[in-house]
Structures are given as C-alpha cells and as structure tokens.
C-alpha cells in the first residue's frame, strides 16, 4: 500500500510541475493561437538562473524571484519584437520559436556547461515525511501545495479580475474585444509574460527534484505538449487534470514498466486523440 501511496505522491508532485508549464502554454495558445516551442527553454533558463542566484546569495526565494522576473521579461520581449509580426501565422511562429529553442539551449550550454546540476533545496524544505514504512521528501508536498495555490490564483485571475475578464473576451472574440476598447495588444504581451513566468517558476521549483541539464528544455516541452493534448489546449482545468494524469502515468510507468516508460504516456494520449481530438476539456 505504502508503495502505491509514495508513487501517487511522486506522480502528483511531478504533475504539478507539468501543470505550471502546461498552464502557460495553454494560456498563450488560448489567447494568441501561438504554439510556443520556446516554452521548455524558459523552464531551463530559469533553472540555471536560479542556480547561479542560489550560489551567489544562498537564498532560494531570491532565486525564484530573479529567475521568474528575468524570464517573464524575456517572454514579453519575444512577443513584442518577434511573434507579434506573425499573428496567426502558425508556420512562422513554429520556425521562430524553434529557432529560439536552439539559441537558448546553446547559450545555456555555453554559459553553464554540459554537466547535469542540481539546485539545492532550501533548508526548511529538506525534511521528509513518513508514509507507512516509506519516506517521502517534504519537498514533494511543497510542490503539490504550490501547484494548487498557483491553480487557485490563476482561476481567480481569470474569473474574478477585470484583466481576467478582458482576457476571456480576447479569447472568445478578439476583434470585438478590440472594438470595445480593450487593449488586446498589451494583453498579448502580458499573457506571454505570465506564461513565461509560470514556466520559469516550474524551472526553479523543478531544479531540486529533476536537476538541470542540457536537453531538459526539450523533455519538459514534450511532456507539456502531451498534457495539453490530453487536457485540451486553452483550458486551465485541462492543464491541471492533464498535468496530474501525465505525472501519474509517467511515475507508475517508470516504476512498473521501465523499458516502456514512454508508452505509458503516449498510448493514452493516442487513445484520447482518437476519441476526442481536442482533448478532454478543449473547445471544438
């Protein structure tokens, strides 16, 4: 029993990281119809920036702050200066964001080297919790708490604030929203920054758990894709449920069928595609 409980906790906590990534990917797609292939790079860059800040200052909190703000600004700049020119041109956006993926990956390799590194946990989170006859790191519970808090915040932001209402208006009908005087252009930049911020948060928080290494950008991007394919692009609920689902599948898959790890994620994805091409909660 305890083994199952541990795998479940591990799966859900990993799922929360995936949720942070998928939520940003989904928000950006929902408003701008941009499939941002650079999203995994935000995660990786934030992890590395966080690592440098922790090494310099010893503060995990400062690491989160510096990395998320820097990467959010980077995202905003990409939207303002590049992606804006190719509104609704999905092929151009794909090539552009793929180009940035390469450039950021190579820059990170240049600056931080090729060896896998681990972000140290803050001291107050380095304990562990007994589950039956097993122990689970406290950090896992922390991740779940952060994920739920971010989910609650995003829900409140979308449903309860004025900017959220503008956002929903922009998603539903961009032209009418513009005609009503909503500054959709500014909204685009803000949402892109928010998406980058969420991926960056995932990068710093994921650092102690998964490590930071060349190629991580691509791995998480791909998993985030699977999450939004399963959950439905543009849906916050889909990102959360999809994230947890993929997190669990990944964990149980790796534990019970190590040679077929990819299968346990991709086969359910293919089944959902065959039944509901727009995902569980996606719009038609």
């Amino acid at each position: 029993m305890a083994v199952w409980a541990v795998h479940t906790i591990n799966g859900i906590s990993f799922g929360m990281l995936l949720f942070l990534l998928a939520a940003g990917l989904s928000l950006i797609y929902g408003l701008m119809k941009i499939l941002n292939l650079t999203h995994g790079s935000y995660y990786l860059l934030a992890g590395y920036i966080g690592l440098s800040v922790v090494r310099a200052t010893g503060s995990f909190f400062l690491a989160i702050l510096a990395a998320t703000v820097a990467v959010a600004l980077l995202g905003a700049a990409m939207e303002r200066f590049f992606l804006r020119r190719f509104h609704l041109d999905e092929l151009a956006q794909t090539l552009l964001t793929f180009g940035f993926l390469f450039m950021f990956a190579d820059l990170a390799l240049w600056i931080w080297g090729g060896n896998p590194q681990t972000l140290p946990k803050p001291a107050w989170l380095s304990g562990s919790v007994e589950v039956g006859d097993r122990v689970v790191p406290l950090y896992r519970f922390f991740l779940i708490a952060v994920g739920l808090a971010v989910g609650a915040f995003l829900w409140w932001f979308q449903e309860g604030t004025r900017v959220g209402a503008m956002l929903r208006a922009g998603v539903d009908d961009e032209e009418t929203a513009r005609a009503l005087g909503i500054n959709v252009s500014l909204l685009f930049t803000l949402v892109f920054a928010l998406g980058a911020f969420l991926a960056a948060l995932g990068g710093v928080l994921g650092g102690p758990l998964l490590g930071i290494y060349p190629g991580a950008d691509f791995e998480v991007l791909l998993l985030a894709f699977v999450v939004v394919i399963v959950g439905g692009l543009g849906s916050l609920k889909g990102a959360l449920i999809g994230g947890v689902l993929v997190g669990l599948l990944d964990n149980f898959g790796k534990a019970f069928f190590p040679e077929l790890a990819m299968f346990t994620i991709f086969v359910p994805m293919a089944v959902i595609l065959a039944v509901r091409p727009t995902g569980l909660f996606g719009r038609e």
């Binding site: 041109d89 552009l96 450039m103 240049w110 394919i229 990819m262």
Partner: protein, 303 residues
C-alpha cells in the same frame, strides 16, 4: 527552358565526382538524400498545406527497419530497403488516421508527439535498437559499397524519386491538393473527398521520407535515435521554408544550403546550434516565402 535546366543539373551531378575529393562527394551524397527528405515534406506542406513537425518518424522508421533487417535478420540489402520504405508508408497510414483528425496547430503538435513515440521506442528498447548507441556497421549493398558508386546510386534513386514527385504534383491529384490547401470547403462543394486526398498525400510523403531514411542508413552505415528526433523534423521544415514551399526545387536547394552551412560553420565554431537557431529566425523574418519566392519577387515570370 526547364528541360535545359534539368539537363544542366543532371550533367553537373554526373560530372561532380571527377572534380571533387571523396570527402566532398560524400557531402554531396548527404545533400542529395536530404533533398529528397525535404521534397517529401514539401508534398505535405507546400501542396496539401499540412505543416508536420513529425516527418522524421518516417525517415527514422525506414532507416531502422532497413538496418535491423540487414543486421539482425540478414536479409538482402535491396529487399531491406524496399521493406523499410513499405514500413514507412504503413506507419504513415496509421499516423495519418490519427493526425488528420486535427488541423493547424493541433496537427503540428500531434505529428510531433506521434514521432516522439517512435523516438521513445528506439531509445527504450535497447536490446533491439541499441538505445542511444544506435546501430553501427550497417553494410551497404556490395555493388555500391564505395563512395563514388554510392553517390551515383543516390543520384539515380533520388532522381527517380524527384521525377515521381514532380509527376504527382503536376497530376490532377496534385492540383486537387493545392485546391484543398487554398479552400477545403470549396473543394468539398465540388465533390472532392478532401480527407482522402490529404490522407493519400500523407502516406505518399511518408513513403518518400522513408526512402530518404533508408538511403541515409546506408550512406552513414549507422542508424541512431537522432534519425527520429524532432530536431530532424524541424530541420526538414526549415529546408522547405528556406528554399520555398510548394516548389519542390526550392526545398531541395534549401537542403543543400543547410548542409553546406552546417559544414562550413562547424569548421569555424562550436556554436553551430546557436547559428542554426539564428538561421531559423532570420529566414522567418526575411524570407518567409523562401529563396525561390525571393527570386520570383525580383524577377516575376515573364510568360
């Protein structure tokens, strides 16, 4: 005019090994194989209007199948090549069913994810595929074992493949694809089964990508997981866009250009990936219709 150009290209290709060292002949072989790969994607992107980010799936499946049949089952190398292409077409037939349920961004994402399934198998199933060590020492067929012979063999096969592709895009089928790309609803109203046309294009493109993949396995005498990776898919996309989608000639030129750039730039710097990323950005910003598009803008066709 076009015949003259084609004859000139063919003459250059035939004369090439006489003027170049073996290293460059080998480089030219790579260009030509990747040109076929790019042209196969152009059938999807440029003619059917389907932007796939998983085209490496078919390239890799065929390469792996050919290598495995030769190495493990000791099949005849020619038969293995044909079997590889057949398996690529079959994979395309299955993946097409799933991917063509979606369009636009979803199509991109789904083709990417489906290709990654195969990458995952190649990576995980070590006992069969060698995992990330790949499959070394894939022997070429005896008759075309040396560099120059393999070059001519590649020119022949890719030339025939290109000829078939040109026939396809100039056939009523090709024009129907263009119609679907421009306006699917109109083609449906005219009584075309748009889905079936796109499906056939998908399977055909998979088969040609597979042919390129099997040739590449023999060319490199090696098959590895990067054959299936999305980086390869994206590179093909870049070659098509760089050259000019919907022209077939353009993507072939795009492929040649990328291979040359990679070769030249890698000689000077370790940072090839950084430069390649910049090439993606610059091409998107400056030449969205590709080099052929640029030329046509400057000198519009007189006829």
């Amino acid at each position: 005019m076009k015949l003259v150009a084609a004859a000139a290209v063919l003459a250059v290709l035939i004369a090439l090994p006489f003027g170049l060292s073996e290293y460059y002949v080998s480089l030219a072989t790579r260009m030509i194989i990747l040109a076929l790969f790019a042209m196969s994607l152009d059938l999807l992107l440029g003619y059917a209007g389907l932007a796939s980010l998983g085209h490496a799936a078919f390239f890799g499946v065929s390469a792996y199948a050919t290598a495995l049949l030769v190495l493990r089952a000791e099949w005849n190398p020619w038969l293995s090549l044909v079997a590889g292409v057949a398996l690529a077409a079959l994979t395309g037939a299955v993946y097409g069913l799933l991917a063509l349920r979606a369009r636009g961004t979803y199509f991109l994402m789904i083709t990417l994810a489906l290709a990654q399934v195969l990458w995952g198998i190649a990576f995980g199933w070590r006992t069969m595929t060698g995992g990330d060590d790949g499959l070394p020492n894939v022997p070429r067929p005896d008759v075309v074992a040396d560099t120059v012979r393999f070059y001519y063999f590649t020119v022949l096969i890719v030339g025939l493949g290109a000829l078939v592709l040109f026939r396809i895009v100039r056939s009523p089928f090709g024009y129907a694809l263009r119609g679907i790309r421009e306006s699917e609803t109109r083609m449906l109203a005219l009584g075309y089964d748009a889905w079936l046309y796109k499906y056939l294009a998908f399977v055909l493109a998979s088969a040609f990508a597979g042919l390129a993949g099997s040739l590449y396995a023999y060319y490199n005498k090696f098959v590895g997981i990067d054959y299936l990776h999305v980086v390869r898919s994206a590179e093909a996309l870049l070659m098509v866009i760089l050259g000019g989608a919907g022209t077939l000639v353009g993507p072939a030129l795009g492929a040649a250009l990328i291979v040359i750039l990679e070769n030249v730039i890698s000689a000077y710097t370790q940072r090839w990936l950084l430069v390649l990323g910049a090439i993606y950005v610059v091409v998107t910003l400056l030449a969205p219709r590709g080099l052929v598009g640029l030329v046509l803008e400057k000198w519009p066709r007189s006829k």
